[in-house]
Structure formats: C-alpha cells, structure tokens
Symmetry: C2
Subunit: 110 residues, 2 copies
Amino acid sequence: MEPSYLCADILKALAQPIRLKIVELLADGEHCVCEIFPAIAQEQSNTSRHLQMMLKSGILSQRKEGLKIYYSLRHPEVLEIVHLAETMVDHETMRRSALVKAKRSLPLSR
Amino acid sequence: MEPSYLCADILKALAQPIRLKIVELLADGEHCVCEIFPAIAQEQSNTSRHLQMMLKSGILSQRKEGLKIYYSLRHPEVLEIVHLAETMVDHETMRRSALVKAKRSLPLSR
DNA sequence: CCACTATATGATTATCCACTCATACATCCT
DNA sequence: AGGATGTATGAGTGGATAATCATATAGTGG
C-alpha cells in the first residue's frame, strides 16, 4: 500500500510496447477489444490480458455494451506521460547521433 | 530501434519502486553510489545494477571524480513523469475510498 | 435451445528481472 | 608496492512477465 509501489505499478502498466500502442489507440477515445487486437496485430487473448492488466492498475476503464466491452483511458495524465517519454526519446536519439558524428572527427573522447 | 521500444525502455527504467526512490533522491542534484545505497537501504551491488540500468536507458548521466561516481538525472522530463504518476495515484486513492464509502450505503453498485 | 460472436481465463512455456554473494576493477594514500 | 575505499560485474536463484493454445463465460439472434 506504499505510494511508491502504486506509482511504479502505473508506470509498469505503460512500460511495454504493446500496451503503449493500446494507449495511443485509445488516445482518440474508447475502443472495444475486437477493434483493438487487429489494430495492434496481436492475438485476442494476449490483448485481453494486457487490457486487464491496465484496468487493474487503474489507468483504463471499462464500459459494457451488449457483447462488446469498450475500454478507455481513465486519466489524461497517461497521455502526458507518454508524450514526455517520447520527447526524451527524441532528445536521446539526437544526442546519440551527435556523439557518433563527434567520434568520427575526435576519436576516443567520452 | 523502433520508437515504441525506446519509449517503453524509458518508462521501464522508472517502473520500479527502488528506481523511483533513486530518482526522487536525485531530484535535488547529483549523488554518488556511496550516498545512494544507504539512503535507499539497499546493497551496494543492487544499487549499482539499478543505476547501470537507468544509465543505459538514457535517463541518468555519470560523472567520475576520483573514486566516486556521481549520477544525476539527464532529463527534467523524468521528474514530470513521476509527478504525473503520483497525481494519478492520488486520484485513484480518492476514487477507491469514495467507492468503498458508496458501497456501504448502496451495496452491489458498479 | 442452438449456433455465433465477443471477451476472459487456466495451464504451460520461455524469457526476463531483482536480488545476493563473491570477486574484480579502479583510484587514492602512505 | 600494498592497503583501503568506491564501484561494477559474473554466477546463481526465485519469482514475475508475456505469449500461446485451448477452453470457459456471457450476450445475441435465429
């Protein structure tokens, strides 16, 4: 019940490529499982497990309509987090390519 | 090399209670391993592994000074991400306690 | 009731993670 | 050089995670 564990659980729910794709898919609103799993090219069962995992960690919510179950993002913060992480990836990518370039002219520097 | 993998790696580097503690410790500036591992009550070797992991994922940087190696946060976005996750934990905690309260007066609702 | 569709879950497997202990490596001091 | 300190890493272990296949559950329509 310690806060750092809960916080880590939320981040863990986002720290997986397939789950990130699901989050990006849900960025424009709710979708049901039968829409999600073809869109991310995964098996239905695997998709369902990832959705359950995110639901339990509190970042998704569920809405049932007939046979279908629609999932959606519960907190706008999730998208902000993903966006910040993408910003960091961009910075890192630029930094690394700059390092490679620098190494070509100034070998053995760190 | 796909972007969603890199993004997931960054989030994975934050999605662990001990690493979150390290990040919070580094929020006020650089610290060396010998300061960090007693502060988070972990073995030196385990602490070092977590630091290496975060270094490789790109969220930390290293500075050597004599025997000591000082680690620091490379991107301010990391703190923003942790802060957003904490905000979500607060919202979830409030929601859940509200649900419990509601259940006591209106049992069997969802 | 039966067939059909949508979703969840048990069981299994392979892989990854966190941790520990011991040890190596690097740097400093005398 | 030798001892002390700070950090990293190899090897081993137990436990978590992700994926798959098969099956169960639940709602829908004939």
